[in-house]
């Protein structure tokens, strides 16, 4: 008979695996989890939270820069994209990182429409990841509240 804890753990496992398989997360997210322990029990949540704040700030910068019709500073946009690529790489946000690579190419070739498209996509993508990770963290909380352990998921 499946206990609540077992059900939640299975859900957690399945959801985690799907995030990797669908390319939302990569190996680096696994590395983040290794850094979480009793000394730093909320490390992953803290880092991803900083990452999402970074996304908001950098996307804002890029949007403002792209808004300067006729006078777009592509270097400025490119530099923000570079920063975003760096932090997405650090947390294992695979899709965001991939979009940044394309975005950077558009900046380098001063492709305005391309940049605008990439900006929209990056915005959608980070928000989507944010929602999914929130769901994942909620599952963790539910497991702990039900008295269970969060399973180690090997990808």
């Amino acid at each position: 008979m499946d206990t609540l804890v077992a059900q939640l753990q299975r859900q957690f496992r399945d959801y985690t695996i799907s995030l990797y398989h669908q390319g939302f997360l990569d190996d680096q997210f696994t590395e983040l989890k290794k850094l979480q322990d009793e000394c730093s029990p909320d490390f992953v949540a803290e880092v991803v939270s900083l990452f999402f704040e970074d996304c908001e700030k950098l996307i804002g910068n890029m949007a403002r820069a792209l808004d300067q019709t006729g006078n777009v500073d592509f270097n400025l946009v490119g530099s923000s994209v570079h920063q975003l690529k760096g932090s997405s790489s650090s947390v294992g946000a695979k899709r965001v990182k991939g979009l940044c690579i394309t975005f950077k190419e558009c900046c380098d070739s001063q492709n305005f429409e391309g940049c605008v498209r990439c900006l929209q996509q990056v915005d959608i993508e980070y928000k989507s990841l944010k929602a999914k990770l929130q769901d994942l963290f909620n599952l963790e909380q539910q497991i702990v509240q039900a008295g269970g352990r969060i399973p180690q998921v090997d990808i």
Partner: protein, 219 residues
């Protein structure tokens, strides 16, 4: 008792990215090092006690030249390469040009795999070049560099007893290194779990390997 434990190693981490600062801080803490993080090269110099101005450090100045009294001993500096203002390379140069701090090992991190950049840093005296994102397994490379400086400092100290005691002191430290390893089996095992390819970690240019060997044999 004179044992060298890793809690005595203090690393100064420099990165303009908040996310990466948090990462490197945790990586270092997890590897049992004490950490100070700063967000720029100039703050790093400030922390070390080097003046960040046009004023160059006078190599002939008395050995206690730092402007601010540096209360903590830094055993290693790990810095991002790409930073606004002072790059990691600029910081590396300043440290290596400083009489007081040139012996501090410096490690460069970069998200970009540019061989020319890597060579330049290693030539300027960087001990290692890590590709970002830096992993726990990468940090195992740091200890030898920090130990070398510590051992050198120990052997430079005036002998309290006669010099015959010096050798046993160093042996004791080597013994304690062996004692420490079991605590870090966890770290040693990480590479097995990680799916990274080893070649991605540090560019094994011809320069990096010989340079490491040179440093080891000079001890």
């Amino acid at each position: 008792m004179g044992m060298v434990t890793e809690s005595q190693f203090h690393v100064l981490a420099v990165d303009d990215s908040l996310v990466d600062r948090k990462m490197i801080e945790r990586l270092l803490q997890k590897s049992s090092y004490q950490v100070t993080t700063v967000d720029s090269g100039s703050k790093a110099l400030e922390f070390l006690g080097l003046r960040d101005s046009n004023e160059s450090d006078d190599a002939n100045a008395p050995s206690s030249s730092p402007v601010t009294h540096q209360e903590v001993e830094i055993n290693l500096i790990i810095t991002d390469y790409c930073m606004p203002g002072m790059t990691g390379y600029d910081l590396l140069k300043r440290v290596k040009e400083s009489a007081a701090f040139k012996s501090i090992p410096v490690v460069i991190m970069s998200s970009e795999n540019v061989p020319a950049r890597i060579s330049r840093c290693l030539e300027e005296g960087a001990e290692e070049f890590f590709l970002k994102p830096v992993k726990l397994a990468d940090l195992t490379k740091l200890k030898p560099h920090m130990m070398k400086t510590k051992l050198k400092k120990e052997s430079d100290k005036p002998a309290k007893e006669d010099s015959a005691v010096l050798k046993p002191e160093i042996r004791e430290e080597e013994a304690s290194v062996i004692k420490i390893v079991p605590l870090h089996q966890e770290v040693e095992q990480e590479p097995v779990l990680s799916k990274r390819k080893a070649t991605k970690e540090v560019i094994s240019t011809d320069r990096s390997r010989p340079k490491y060997n040179d440093i080891t044999t000079s001890v």
